[in-house]
Symmetry: C2
Amino acid sequence: MPRLRLALNQIDSTVGDLAGNAEAVLRWTRHSAGQGAHLVAFPEMMLTGYPVEDLALRSSFVEASRAALRSLAARLADEGLGGLPVVVGYLDRSADARPRYGQPAGAPQNAVAVLHGGEVALSFAKHHLPNYGVFDEFRYFVPGDTMPVVRVRGVDVALAVCEDLWQDGGRVPAARSARAGLLLSVNASPYERDKDDTRLELVRKRAQEAGCTTAYLAMTGGQDELVFDGDSIVVDRDGAVLARAPQFSEGCVVLDLDLPAAAEAGAPTGVVDDGLRIDRVVLSEQPVPERPVPERPMPGRPVSGETVSGDGPALSGGHAEPLDDDEEVYSALVVGLRAYVTKNGFRSVLVGLSGGIDSALVAAIACDAVGAQHVHGVSMPSRYSSEHSRDDAAELARRTGLNYRTVPIEPMFDAYMGALGLTGLAEENLQSRLRGTLLMALSNQEGHLVLAPGNKSELAVGYSTLYGDSVGAYGPIKDVYKTSVFRLAEWRNRAAAARGETPPIPENSITKPPSAELRPGQVDTDSLPDYPVLDAILALYVDRDRGADEIVAAGYDRELVTRTLRMVDTAEYKRRQYPPGTKISAKGFGKDRRLPVTNRWRETG
Amino acid sequence: MPRLRLALNQIDSTVGDLAGNAEAVLRWTRHSAGQGAHLVAFPEMMLTGYPVEDLALRSSFVEASRAALRSLAARLADEGLGGLPVVVGYLDRSADARPRYGQPAGAPQNAVAVLHGGEVALSFAKHHLPNYGVFDEFRYFVPGDTMPVVRVRGVDVALAVCEDLWQDGGRVPAARSARAGLLLSVNASPYERDKDDTRLELVRKRAQEAGCTTAYLAMTGGQDELVFDGDSIVVDRDGAVLARAPQFSEGCVVLDLDLPAAAEAGAPTGVVDDGLRIDRVVLSEQPVPERPVPERPMPGRPVSGETVSGDGPALSGGHAEPLDDDEEVYSALVVGLRAYVTKNGFRSVLVGLSGGIDSALVAAIACDAVGAQHVHGVSMPSRYSSEHSRDDAAELARRTGLNYRTVPIEPMFDAYMGALGLTGLAEENLQSRLRGTLLMALSNQEGHLVLAPGNKSELAVGYSTLYGDSVGAYGPIKDVYKTSVFRLAEWRNRAAAARGETPPIPENSITKPPSAELRPGQVDTDSLPDYPVLDAILALYVDRDRGADEIVAAGYDRELVTRTLRMVDTAEYKRRQYPPGTKISAKGFGKDRRLPVTNRWRETG
């Protein structure tokens, strides 16, 4: 039984940065070669980043991706790595798709190449194209129609891409039909809360269907609203877990797999399941037994702010412990924000500090993401700001060490009131907008990226001011319900205490009743149900698409349900204008919820 | 040869307004019956409005649509209209689609029913699902797999929905295979510049392929970014135009068609083209020759602001002249804005008037859309505003009769400068943001919907201020290049002069050099290429997805191309935060252009 040493590079990639991404492939391939790997793999669309969205329809970008792939193959060979097969995702176009109405312009494909001997030894495209949730791949790609199988060291390795495993049929049964010894799937699977459990079960099930050891290589990092949590998995044909990589960490998983030798003759050819045509390439026949990979401890969790370079330690085959739920979500928010700031070329962020829990949590996340020395906080008190608000904001700054200043908005407020004589909601919103303008002025003057502090509960019901507290380039907690905001703040403080550090978030910000402080004595519960009830109703309505009657049947008061759903339905316009933020739930406010703004349908009649 | 009197109701519909849309179907069916029609048709998704987007995934909405359809059938029968077949689009779900991963939740369908005898005599779903441009139907719907044929007065009428005609294969050849005497397609086909010509050629070609007279019924009106321009078309089997309805007008096209009698026996059954299964229903066998429809003049163009009720005049078969290009685009902008304002329940709009051409054109469109008495303009001069700007704004108000006031922003500006000491871009953007805040304050106080004045050229290159001049619920000219802004302003003035009215837009607003007036002596050409060159480059890059090299090859200076494309690439984030506006080009800034915000791909290297 041949032994194959597999190197799975669970790393980040940046959309459009062909040169930088190619450089990362080179660096990590060198590292993999140093570990004695026989087969090296990189995530889905590694070379272009994921998701490329409309760039797929720009032929100059498709051609640039193809050229970068050929150049990468040549550079690998130039460095003496030509004998090592490298599996890398990129953007290609279908050579044989005839143009037709309704097909994406230029017939682009979500493709994967096997680089070997300085050339592209084989390439293929994703067969199942997801077009739900955050995915729009039917819009951008033409599906692939082959079942690629490469023979490496005498083992037939069947290849697949992400959704090829998620949907039934296609390459999983085809891998069995092709009598593969290993199924290798490369992925860019965005993080969702609790998805790690689903993913493990999926890979185990598919390995059993394919009838062979199955390796699931995931991307890690962040791209705009998407976070990739890593969590690469290798299971044997019975579904037993052979290796599992940590979440939210870059690294190279190296492991030795004892796999069945390819059939000497009579390996199936022709068309198999779902019309897939087997496409076989033999790269190396000779099985070479090697020394086993030395056992090493595997990092169990990401280290905040640490960059693992291609020269760093390998993550040898092992079982990383999944993070607990709060740490997992918090890590996703940190990784997402860090990626957004750095990929946009910013070095510092700016956040308005009200003394409340939302801005406190955003500031804590920002400090973890980019370092407190790069976080700027500004308190912008009005006549309605309480003394404790200013104290709590200052205390947060003291605890975290972020840069802090105070700019009262009274003079600007007086200037508007003098000219317009506003009342009620107009007067309340004015204060919020004056703060938004102030933050943007500081951003323009000093170069910080502004963070919007809105949470999912208030965005869902429209309890926020457009062009006011919605101002910002990124909303770190826009997909976090208010009850989760409290839980994450408490978790972050506990985690600090456990490490003997100062908990970043002042206790008072956590315990006092939430208030927008836009009029005397205002508290959130003047306008909204209690947050635990509100969030429970929102989770059913927004995340799970339940109707009013179903929510009432789940045990909630009809009047409360009616009032809440009506708020959500009428807040749609505002929500569309919110900045991006990390998606952490299956149904957030990104592509998952887009009602027509002017629709007259009210769930509540 | 039996004669069939067909009534095509080219009308508007509102997403989610099941009751209101059903009422419209009743009203126009009564009218059609009064005209002696044998077969009455309404547009695609008439009952739910189009596009329903995520409402398709909410089962309570799907069930509400199904219930509304049954109730509509019963009400038609109650009114004595049960004998008249009514073809109406609605939202349904597939009865036999088994749930599977990757399929839209609940298996919704873009469906059409034939109501007859108080019941749903037949229903079917769209076969070809568009998933490009403004369409996401593969995301929302499960395709239909039947070839529906209803026999009406002895004629076999094959039915189809919109994209079924645009893509090759499917119901067009299937209609021929089913030996249909008439192919009736119901549509909600969004307006694009020059699409009327494409559409006519399409219908002619498909009629020849189907081998029978083909009727193409279009929706008219507006829903958020989409405008539906009507332009329903009927052609005979040789492609000769029998009738063409006007653009942007609601109305009922009634015409008599002499059509081949259905095969007495042996009408094909079973599965035909693309796996479509013929689904035949016989509603009435007996051909009844009738008196022909009296010839009446057909309105050649929409009348600004006029509402055509279901009791209004029929548009008897005739040939409406297509509008000329400028009038067509201007009409689309007026119809789109009017729909947005009224469907959102607003009664008035507010626009900042700078004296420049953009805000002047927006104000003119607004006056045509909702009436000058409902348009509020405010001049917000700063220390950098020229005297002519204030004069031109006041002159616009005088000419149009809109409500006008002046609020200087100097006191607010001084308050911020005193606190922050801003310079350069921060100082420039501050002025724009102070105006945005002022408009929103007036909106909150007085209840107007704010209009954003940005044009496509400046949005494309990011020559605008986020939360400043981008503030507003709707951007009437966001898909209009600056050169078109000039052309439309001139056209509008000429049209007024031709009617003996005062041209709304001051000559000086058209002739003076464009300037943002945010610093002394500033003009647009300090930062941007001349608009004719800029717009030509943008049209190639944004609308046609051409690469840098191709644009240079088309005759533009490389340095200029590089500079322009770089501006577009880096403005992506801003553009995402702009309010909706009417889409008039095939590639605008809606769903058609969505690059990842943090992508590093620069067309210019």
